[in-house]
Amino acid sequence: VLHTTRPLHTTQQGLAPLPPLPEKGGEVRHGLIPEEFFQFLYPKTGVTGPYMLGTGLLLYFLSKEIYVINHETVAAACILTVIIYGIKKFGPEVAAFADKLNEEKMSGALAMKNEAIQALQTAIEKEKKEQWRVEGHSYLFDAKRNNIAMLLETNYRERLLMVYNEVKKRLDYQVAMQNLRRQKEQDHMIQWVEKNVVQSITPQQQQDSIAKCILDLKALSKSAQAAV
C-alpha cells in the first residue's frame, strides 16, 4: 500500500529531486496547543488571554460537570505524569539517536552519490584521453603502412631470389648433363681406342718390341755402367 499522504510525482517535474524536509515542525505550546491559537488571541487579549480562556473553560466544565471526575481521571493523571517525566528525561537522548540514524542514512546516500559522480568524472577523463589518442592514429597508420611495405618488399625479394636459384639449378643441371655426356663420350672413346690398339698389337709385334726393349736396356746398362 503506497504511503499516499506525501504527494510524489504529482507535478510535471516528476523526476526532479524532492525538496528537503523542513528543519522544525509547526510550533506547539505545552505539546498540545499550536502556536497559531496564541497568535490568534494575542491582538485582543494579550499574552495571558489563552491561559485565562483555558482556566475558565476548565472551571466551567468541572463546575457544570460536563467533565465528570471518576477513576479514569486519576488514571489519566498518573499516566500523564509518567509520560511527561519520561519525555523530559529521555527526550534529548532519543532525539540524538534518531538524528544519528538519519545522519548515517544521509551520509550513505551522499557517499553513493559522490562515488557515482567520481566514477563519471574518471570516465569523462578517460574518454578525453581516448579522444586524444585518436589524434595519434595517423602516426600509427603511417608506421603500419611502412611495415606492410617492407613486408611486401621482403617477400618480393625472397621470391626473386627463389626464382633465381631455381633457374640457376636448372641451368646447372643442363651444364652438368652436357659435361657428363662429354666425359662419358671421352672415356668411352679412350677405352675403345685403347682396346683396339691393344687388340691390334699382334704377338709378333709384341715379341719384336720386347726384343727391342731388351736391346735398349742392354745399351742403357752399358752406358750407365760407363757413367758410374
Binding site: 499522504t5 506525501r6 522544525k24 515542525g25 467533565y67 532525539a95
Partner: protein, 84 residues
C-alpha cells in the same frame, strides 16, 4: 485570492457561510478534503527533521476528546451532583 480557493485558516468568520457553500459537497469532495487536511497536518508536524512529541500528542489528545464525546451520555450518569 478568490474565496473558494482559500484554505480554511484564512477565511474570516463572516465569510464562513459563503465559503461552505462553495465547497464541493460530495463523497469524492469530502474524501479529497479529508485527505488534504491529513496531508497538510502531516507535512506540518510529522514529516520534519527535528519533530517533537507534539505531532503524536495532538492526535492522541484529539482521540481522547472524541472518545469522551462519544461516551458522554454514558458518563453523564456518573455525575457527583444532580443539580449544577
Amino acid at each position: 485570492g478568490p474565496l473558494s480557493e482559500r484554505p480554511l485558516m484564512e477565511v474570516r468568520l463572516g465569510e464562513l457561510h459563503t465559503w461552505i457553500s462553495t465547497c464541493h459537497v460530495s463523497p469524492q469532495g469530502l474524501l479529497g478534503a479529508v485527505q488534504k487536511a491529513w496531508s497538510s497536518y502531516c507535512d506540518k508536524y510529522i514529516h520534519v527533521r527535528r519533530g517533537g512529541p507534539s505531532g503524536i500528542s495532538m492526535l492522541l489528545a484529539g482521540y481522547c476528546l472524541l472518545s469522551y464525546g462519544w461516551n458522554y451520555q454514558h458518563l453523564r450518569r456518573h455525575r457527583w451532583r444532580k443539580y449544577h
